[in-house]
């Protein structure tokens, strides 16, 4: 059942800076099976988003490459739909129209009725059919993120890429959306790559957790297989020793092996930089 599906081989990327190229990522190797739920976790600035953007085709790897179902990823496309951190719904379109745009754009063969049914079906999945004619500015952050997920799902992606999808939400809303996401994943079986900085979220949702080392030249540090039975129940798992073991593993990686060293001098420089920026703006 599990075949080779998405493959990252020796992926590395340099960003040009005035001081010469900055090596953000190096030697990222990852094989992902169809239907797998992968979390990327690491400290901020470690290049998680860069990995995701390379898979999405929004960034181009300077070394290595990404292969999806036998063809190389060269540009962005709807088969690798992205759920952005800040929902990025088009603010001038209603909930319905936002999803409709994606459907119309990616499934041209569909008739008017089929389009409408498919839009409604996807909004149904995220429980947002009650706000079809609302503008994004009229609904809450959690609802916007739901619509963002519906829009991504409506593209019928092979891989769903999620860039800290729940990062900007409060804890309760986040838990709700995580449950919704688990339901949807159980139903549709999409391959998902999700960036997160929340250890509980990673353990609860993932089949595998990919832990990244700190940059520059960040790479994959460890990969943790999460072998918990699905469907998973957050309440039952809270007391589960296996669950807590996985949490412990991730926490150990993040706070012992890859402890982020922020020295006083660094912090000073950072704040000095910020203040000089402010004076520039003024």
């Amino acid at each position: 059942m599990q075949t080779k599906h998405l493959e990252l081989t020796q992926v590395g990327i340099d960003f040009p800076t005035p001081k010469g190229p900055f090596n953000a990522l190096t030697d990222v190797n990852l094989k992902i099976h169809k239907g797998e739920f992968i979390s990327l976790i690491g400290h901020s600035g470690c290049g998680k988003s860069t990995v995701l953007n390379i898979v999405a085709g929004l960034h181009h790897a300077t070394q290595g490459g990404v292969i999806l179902d036998g063809s190389e990823v060269r540009e962005p496309g709807p088969e690798r739909a992205v759920v952005f951190q800040n929902h990025s719904l088009l603010p001038w379109l209603t909930v319905y129209k936002n999803v409709e745009l994606a459907v119309k754009q990616t499934q041209r063969q569909k008739s008017k009725k089929q389009i409408r049914d498919w839009v409604l079906h996807n909004l149904e999945l995220v429980h947002m059919t009650h706000a079809l004619d609302k503008l994004p500015s009229e609904i809450s952050g959690g609802m916007k993120q739901r619509v963002g997920i519906a829009r991504a799902l409506a593209m019928e992606p092979k891989v769903l890429l999620m860039d800290e999808p729940f990062g900007a939400l409060d804890a309760l809303t986040r838990a709700h959306l995580q449950d919704s996401l688990m339901d949807i994943h159980a139903e549709l079986g999409n391959t998902v790559i999700m960036i997160t900085h929340d250890v509980d979220e990673a353990v609860l949702l993932s089949d595998r957790i990919v832990m990244m080392t700190n940059g520059p030249s960040a790479t994959i540090g460890e990969v943790l297989d999460v072998e918990l039975e699905r469907p998973r129940d957050r309440l039952a798992l809270a007391d589960d020793p296996a669950y807590n073991h996985y949490r412990h593993e991730v926490l150990t990686f993040l706070y012992e092996k890859q402890k982020k060293i922020e020295t006083v001098t660094n912090r000073k420089r950072a704040s000095g930089g910020a203040s000089s920026k402010k004076s520039n703006v003024a």
Binding site: G77, S88, L90, Q105, L135
Partner: protein, 330 residues
């Protein structure tokens, strides 16, 4: 305003209480503008009395108002004359036709001097055409410059070079070019109209162009990424993402452009003696009668009022076009 307040206070208190409430709540909003205007009129009146020019005393509000009435009367008289002229002409043609059925009746235009209100109309028409030409060029070009760094790099030096040029420097060139190129036996538009409109266009281009380019290049990168993931074609990218996202900046540019265009037009009309409000001002100045200054003052206030109304017009168009109805527009 004060009259309505008095009239209302005499109404029965029960019926008018609701209306009274709404009026009273809008009083603070209206109060300060009215105070401002009254203060201005008082200062104007005071200062005007102490200024003596070679054309007599500088006109105060009363003299200017007098001229407003005169200008309206003159306009009506001119309309009457025109009407009379056309009816006489019709009669004569009918008579000629009765005598000779083969007679080819000619309708001649009435050639009376344009009144103040004719000049207003000419100016409005000219500024709108000039502004439209400029917008049709500037918005697409601005979008191109906003989307493509190389297009921006190519156009930027030209924009920076021509942006600060005064319209009056363009005027002789435009006049000569129009005379040379616009040759037709039966011209649809007069040369003076084309000259004025093009001069306005040349000055209206830049603010719209620059604001559009800035607006387009500052679109939220997430929205651009959405468009990339959806593989929107360039044209639908512009239509579905770029245009709605940059509507506020485009309109900021358009409003600045229209304001500049209106100022430029008056100056161009004065300098080139092209029909319009500017010519009215210049003619009155040359005329040098004792009423001239008051009539010029009427024109000055009219120009200001029309400029203000044009800006409001653009604002309501923006409200109508923009998706963001909640945005505070000022």
């Amino acid at each position: 305003m004060s009259k309505t307040v008095q009239a209302l206070s005499q109404m029965s208190p029960t019926r008018s209480s609701v209306l009274w409430g709404t009026i009273m709540s809008s009083v603070p909003k209206l109060l300060m503008p009215i105070v401002g205007i009254l203060l201005f009129l008082a200062v104007w009146n005071g200062v005007a009395k102490s200024i003596d020019t070679s054309l007599g005393q500088f006109p105060g509000p009363a003299q200017v108002w007098e001229q407003v009435v005169t200008l309206v009367d003159e306009h009506q008289a001119q309309r009457e004359k025109a009407k009379a002229f056309y009816s006489r002409q019709e009669e004569r043609n009918a008579e000629r036709l009765a005598l000779d059925p083969d007679y080819d009746a000619k309708v001649r235009e009435y050639t009376g001097a344009p009144t103040f209100f004719d000049q207003i109309w000419t100016s409005l028409y000219t500024v709108m055409i000039g502004f439209l030409i400029a917008s049709v060029i500037a918005v697409p070009l601005g979008i191109l410059c906003g989307l493509s760094r190389s297009a921006y790099a190519a156009f930027n030096p030209l924009i920076q070079l021509f942006k600060p040029v005064s319209p009056l420097a363009w005027l002789p060139l435009v006049t000569m070019v129009v005379s040379a190129l616009y040759v037709s036996d039966d011209p649809m538009f007069s040369k003076s109209f084309i000259t004025s409109a093009f001069t306005v266009s040349l000055c209206c281009l830049w603010p719209t162009l620059i604001n559009t380019a800035v607006g387009v290049s500052n679109i939220d990168s997430d929205l651009v990424n959405v468009s990339k993931v959806l593989r929107l074609k360039p044209l639908s990218h512009v239509r579905k993402i770029v245009l709605p996202a940059s509507v506020p900046m485009i309109f900021t540019g358009l409003r600045v452009s229209l304001g500049i265009g209106w100022m430029v037009l008056i100056a161009a009309e004065m300098l080139a003696q092209n029909p319009g409000l500017g010519k009215f001002v210049w003619d009155e100045f040359q005329n040098g009668s004792s009423e001239s200054l008051a009539r010029i003052m009427v024109a000055v206030l009219t120009i200001g009022l029309i400029g203000f109304l044009l800006d409001r017009l653009m604002l309501s168009v923006q409200r109508w076009v923009s998706w963001d109805k909640a945005a505070v527009l000022r």
